[in-house]
Amino acid sequence: MAAEPSSSNIADSTGASAPAMARLAPWLGVATLALMLASLFMVFEYVPTEAQEGIVQRIFYFHVPCAWVAFAAFGLVAIAGVFYLWLGDQIWDDLGYAAAESGMVFCTLVLITGSLWAKPIWGAWWTWDSRITTTFILWLLYGGYLMLRAMADDTPEVARFGAVVGIVAALDVPVVIVSVRLWRTIHPAVLVTRQGGHGLEDPRMIATLLVATVAFTVMFAWLLMLRFAQLRLRSRMKELRRALALAEASAGDL
């Protein structure tokens, strides 16, 4: 005799990964806090002040990791989109959505911190430089993706359309990266200069950037896990609602 499916079975179909994430998330949160404190110490105490730009150059140590994390997040949206289109499993749609949202947070920070650096260095908050413009286009593309997902019916058709938008939008990421080499630009090419070398001559600058990049990557993993677990919970709630509607209809028939 087959066992009657229970509400816990429903949870298993969509929320099985949630307990594992719930256990891991606090550890990632603690790691994020520790790495952030280490990064702040290095940025404000350890690294030397850059000779030409002065103290404002220290924005760079958080600006670049924000950009790296945003690019990684949008790359993940594209990968999740491919898997969703291929397998049609809701878990990939949830992952893509969570990554797009986290990516938008970091892409917004890239634009804001870049603007705060540009004002004292260039004398303007904003300029239509190739890298800044392509980054702004990236921000608009994923802003559109999130608006679509927030406002449209939450159906598999919309999820498939969202997956396509997420994949196409990610094509802008390599354009942003190579933009300083493709077009004439005033944006600094610090990590890999136009001559092929790197612009960070002091090893302390490289170490600080590396630690900050690790800190932001771990923080991204933490935020992604929190949001992804929440979206899995939401999928579970939707299944429970459907099961409840059926159960109530059955009870009404009796």
Binding site: F62, V105, L226, A247
Partner: protein
């Protein structure tokens, strides 16, 4: 200490935005967990489990 205001603003914005995003996630999670618990309790009351159900077409993402 020229331009310290810009440096301070940049780091403040980063931590403020991330803090607000974490609060946004936690608040929604608490609401969702409460709703899932209520639905599970209601299902247990009815003594029913999952069956094939019509597609959910609720609007937007939460």
């Amino acid at each position: 200490m020229d331009n310290f205001g810009y440096l301070f603003a940049a780091y403040s914005v980063i931590f403020a935005v991330i803090f607000l995003y974490v609060v946004f996630i936690w608040r929604r999670e608490a609401r969702l967990e409460a709703e899932v618990r209520a639905l599970e309790a209601r299902l247990r009351e009815l003594g029913q489990g999952s069956r094939p159900a019509p597609a959910d077409t609720s609007r937007g993402r939460q």
